[in-house]
Assembly symmetry: C2
Homo-oligomer: 336 residues x 2
């Protein structure tokens, strides 16, 4: 299976531009923190675990580009960069988690040069940890899948959403690596098509059988008995709900109605035990994402549009939270 990374450091910060997949696999070098923030906002890099690494690497990038000659000056610059990076996509918790980890490592240092090294070292550690954690989470999750299962997934919680391997798709990869035959139904995931552009591409690269469907088809397939399990990733898991790509909640209700297990695969860094659903502001994105596609107009001009990036699925609809500490059936939660 493909082991390449979606974000990495090689004399500078590099990432795969996910907006132009599956047409092109193009690495981009981030020349500034501003460019990284644009890449995060426009989803060139996306997916909760990948954003964790992007946040930490963003601090390392700010340090690398800084001309500060002492620790105090450097930390003031980094605080500023950290705030801007965290604000670029507020709903996904991993972004601020990654930024904070790199900032804590930086804050322990006494010289500007040590801060540079420490921030980069922490970002590299997060990136390596991410793959390790996903493989562990994948191993636990794979036990939930049976040979010949048909698994529905939404959006992309694959290696493109992480540094490598993936969360929801990591579970599927681990099951396949363990010798199980798994067939995936990938929901295209409107409006930005992460399912058709990224998940279908990733799985076909790995020769895991995949059938692409529109998001609205999941209910009908469940009714026909064509779906055995649903697995999705998460952008934030509060004490009471899973925030994930818009559409996840509908699949969860449909799964419950049809008595199909609904699993969420996410590392502990996605858990937010400080908050409840009502505390979280869901990012609303530009109307044009729904009204146009590659210059083609799909709706009349000036129409009202509602375009939230995420929805919240209450934990009572979740059959299991698949983490690197094992699988937890709500209201059970993984230990901190």
């Amino acid at each position: 299976m493909c082991e390449s990374k979606t974000i990495w450091w090689d004399g500078g910060l590099w990432l795969i531009d996910q907006t132009i997949l599956p047409g092109e696999l193009m690495p981009l070098c981030m020349k500034s923190v501003r460019q990284l923030i644009e890449a995060i906002k426009s989803l060139r890099v996306r997916g909760a675990p990948a954003l964790g690494a992007a946040g930490a690497y963003g601090v390392a990038l700010a340090a690398d580009l800084s001309g500060a000659s002492n620790a105090l000056e450097m930390m003031a610059e980094l605080e500023n960069a950290a705030d801007m990076i965290k604000a670029s996509r507020p709903t996904a918790i991993n972004l601020s988690w990654g930024v904070d980890r790199a900032m804590r490592a930086a804050a322990l240092q006494e010289t500007a040069e040590d801060i540079r090294k420490a921030a980069l070292c922490e970002a590299e550690e997060i990136a390596e940890e991410d793959i390790r954690i996903n493989k562990l989470l994948g191993k636990y999750g794979a036990r939930l899948l049976d040979d010949c299962d048909n698994v529905l997934t939404h959006c992309n919680a694959g290696r493109l959403a992480c540094v490598g391997w993936g969360t929801a798709l990591g579970v599927i990869r681990s099951a396949v690596a363990a010798g199980k035959q798994i067939h995936v139904y990938a929901c295209e995931t409107r409006p930005l098509h992460q399912g058709s552009r990224l998940t279908a591409w990733e799985l076909s690269q790995d020769e895991i059988p995949v059938t692409l469907i529109c998001d609205s088809m999941s209910g009908s397939l469940m009714r026909k008995g064509k779906i055995d399990k649903v697995i999705v990733g998460a952008d934030r898991i509060t004490r009471d709900a899973v925030f994930n790509k818009i559409g996840t909640y509908s699949h969860a209700v449909l799964a419950r109605y049809h008595k199909i297990p609904f699993y969420v695969a996410a590392p502990l860094s996605t858990f937010d035990r400080m908050h409840e659903e009502g505390d979280i502001v869901v990012e609303e994105r530009d109307a044009e994402e729904i009204c146009t596609l590659a210059g083609t107009r799909l709706a009349p001009r000036g129409i009202d549009v509602y375009n939230p990036a995420f929805d919240a699925t209450p934990l009572e609809l979740v059959s299991g939270l698949i983490t690197e500490k094992g699988v937890f059936r709500p209201p059970l939660m993984p230990p901190i």
Copy 2:
């Protein structure tokens, strides 16, 4: 409100090309039965009631273009045309209903010229009936809507799906005409965007407040209490199920889960009392409808795709069937 027609006869058969809306409002003249069949297959004309009229007008067109000099020769030609038209979109029952009505009227005639007149006369009758029936159906349905309701609809069951007025949108138009404030959530309806291209356009033309959403957002909106009722049209209603645009079933289950009424608005010509769900073959459409849009590739080449045009919603999920004979709560059905 706009009263123009989507299909009409004016020295020949004309229809609005619905594939290029909302960009352009372009009438097309059908020069042959083959061209009409292409227009039906490619959804230039679509929607169950409009297809009823298209079927009957198709027979009139075949008669108009025929050089047959006697009734026997003419009827042989028409039989052939009728079979081809009926086969062009087999799931929508109204198409064959319209063809059959025009054929029955033709079969009673004794000369080629009388057949021409009778087929056209029957098609014109169906077209006029359609608007009358929709307004009647709209009047019954409007009583189910309360002032300030937020109504979710899927696909386009508006005047573009009919000769005029509309079924699901006809109910909304009638409620608005009766002085109620109604706000509509229009699901974009992947893959062909009849919701964003047609429903959002129709409603904004009539200045009825509408918010466009992706199909996957309905569950989340219901959970937030933003949807009071769901109304959709139908392509065929068998003894046990409503066949309608793919995605309808998911909205129906979500409505049931959230205790929201789910209504189906359709004329009696959409009812198929001879069949059950299992008897009906659902049309599967080309994979490219999901994989590309206006030349832009949304999925890797060669990927497996499942693209049914319709799904089946069992009648037990339907709160009411809105017809020109009144509203019927299943298992009650309208009298024949």
